[in-house]
Amino acid sequence: MELEKFAYDNTIVKKFAFATIFWGIIGMTVGLLVALQMVFPVLNFNTSFLTFSHIRPLHTNAVIFAFVGNGIFMGVYYSLQRLCKARMFSDVLSSIHYWGWQLIIVSAVLTLPFGFTTGKEYAELEWPIDIAIALIWVVFGWNMFGTILKRRERHLYVAIWFYIATFVTVAVLHIVNSFELPISFLKSYSWYAGVQDALVQWWYGHNAVAFFLTTPYLGLMYYFIPKVSNRPVYSYRLSIIHFWALIFLYIWAGPHHLLYTALPDWAQSLGVVFSVMLIAPSWGGMINGLLTLRGAWDKVREDVTLKFLVVAITAYGMATFEGPMLSLKNVNAIAHFTDWIIAHVHVGALGWNGFLTFGILYWLIPKMFRTELYSKKLANWHFWLGTLGILFYAIPMYWAGFMQSLMWKEFTPEGVLKYPNFLETVTQIMPMYAARSLGGALYLIGFIVMAYNIIKTVKAGSFLANEDAEAAPLPKIYQAHKGEHWHRWIERRPIQFMILSLVLILIGGAIEMIPTFLVKSNIPTISSVKPYTPLELQGRDIYIREGCYTCHSQMIRPFRSETARYGEYSKAGEFVYDHPFQWGSKRTGPDLHREGGKYPDSWHYNHMLDPTSMSPGSIMPSYSWLLDNTLDTTTTPAKIRAMITLGVPYPDGYDKLANKDLAIQSKSIAENLKKDGVETLSNKEIIALISYLQRLGTDIKGENKK
């Protein structure tokens, strides 16, 4: 048959490769800054947009969507063309995808530090950016399917299956979790409330790990490990089972982020069971990757690329062993809300995503620039700096998490909490926070060494923008083998393949979510729980804007150690008006769900001005601008109307009366402050925040009194 001549597009691969390096360094530099802020609070600079709670979301979003995101696209655009023996479907779409994605990242940099956030972790970007993400994601999928459809290779290699599953699942996750009601250009409320919002958010959050940080990288593993080591994957049969089992099981596992919370018990158990089962496909995949190198281990000693890849797969194995363990309720009771989780995600992010990206870059850049790597020695330095960095990061965090959790739970023989002051458990782990910063710094230095090495390589080489290739076109009519199996049929049909994966992931999501939304008995209502007053609602939005959830939970678990410390445990019915929920996932500071009435108003006022004045040794930064900023009450009617649309039972026409009630309540708080010697105008933001904090968790307290 006549061979067709065509060329692979390397330019788009190069662009995404440079973007992943650039954003990786930015994202990790911000990470290092937030790590140092926990040791030296002065590094918050008393400026809102550099304060921990504003830039911690920037760090997580930058590393996930900018560093790993661009890394995914680099690897997919390189491998997909070769696996399909076709150039990308459209250079224009590739370009729109590239620039669109970078613009989304820039818009994150321009919004998150300034408090424009939805307050839902890893989905913090506001609604206009959410729409942009959806559109650009569709461009990516369009380009990918276009390429697949004009391919010259009949069968879709397993890597492409992972890419397809990634595309379809991320689209579903993003759209479902981003249902929000805009009230202005950069402010919206989550469509879901409380427990339902939490379930949707962690279904999204967990599967962002699964389908953004894992499946695309597994696809890259299945392409690049055989490519670099020049041998086929250990077992292609295993990879088929790996794929289907992984995408089916992962989607159910989200509720393990909500163990012992107010989420219905059956949903928690479902999450645990599927998380434990996940270990099978995860380790199947890890073993498949590692065993591909059987008989080539001598190469690993010399080839720095392989070293990175081996450590990456090992880190994947460790993280996916740890994950199911952490989802067991008894382990989770210790680990949740502590730095153990931070250690866990960084083994995944630094080890698995980071090292796999580095390995691919060291292999890809010299190849595309038709030269040798500038310095193998520097690459080896990078390897060791990175490996030590991971160890110095993870070990202190495991230690800190364990220690702090045990301190939270320790009782004296008399039966009272041994460390009743939360702060005591924080100051104890400061040395570990310092060591973690060192680990992060080592890893970042290694990254910068790689950037230098790559710049030198790029300068020495000459770029091959269009790589010539030739292959026979596919015959129009395919002669199926007699008695062919259905799975072989699906391996040739990308669209049907996508639909089948979509059905698989929808089943898991639907079975978890529909009952929580439709069945009343899942969220028992509590008659004393009333909607927020207009001032409290404004205060809550300040709480969200300032990112308080990055350090404070609002979820008291039903443990003696928690009810003794914080008060009555949290009930599902208490959150029915919370758009979005603010349960948090990490306690760097104490839980706030029963904060209402615990301290006088003046305590909160002074504490926001200078936390150390009320709690000496506190590492919480000052939020002094709340004392100066005037509360914007022009938004109140729109906010009330939005809440009514979402089903919050304010009386009809209340939007017009709301600001009157707001003024009355703020005046009474200002007078209250005056009694304690604090002079302030009643129209400051701090007044609204105090009203919200004093409301927290009090609905139920009232009921108990009766």
């Binding site: 070769r82 879901y192 409330a193 490519k227 086929p232 089972i241 799975h487 072989r488 089943i507 079975i511």
Partner: protein, 56 residues
């Protein structure tokens, strides 16, 4: 669209997990049978796709 709880409870709720368990048991059984039965030559061909020799 408001997310109110339309149902007090679901009748015979236990049928849903049983159906899904059954569906996936069948799916994975077929998958394993397929994987075990596929001939080695075909599998070798597939696993060599990334190593295509036409490519430089």
């Amino acid at each position: 669209m408001k997310f109110i709880n339309y149902l007090e409870s679901i009748a015979d709720v236990s049928i849903y997990p049983m159906i899904s368990l059954f569906l996936f048991f069948v799916f994975f059984s077929l998958l394993i049978i397929y994987v075990a039965k596929t001939d080695k030559k075909h599998i070798d061909e597939l696993s060599n796709i990334p190593l295509d020799k036409n490519e430089k």
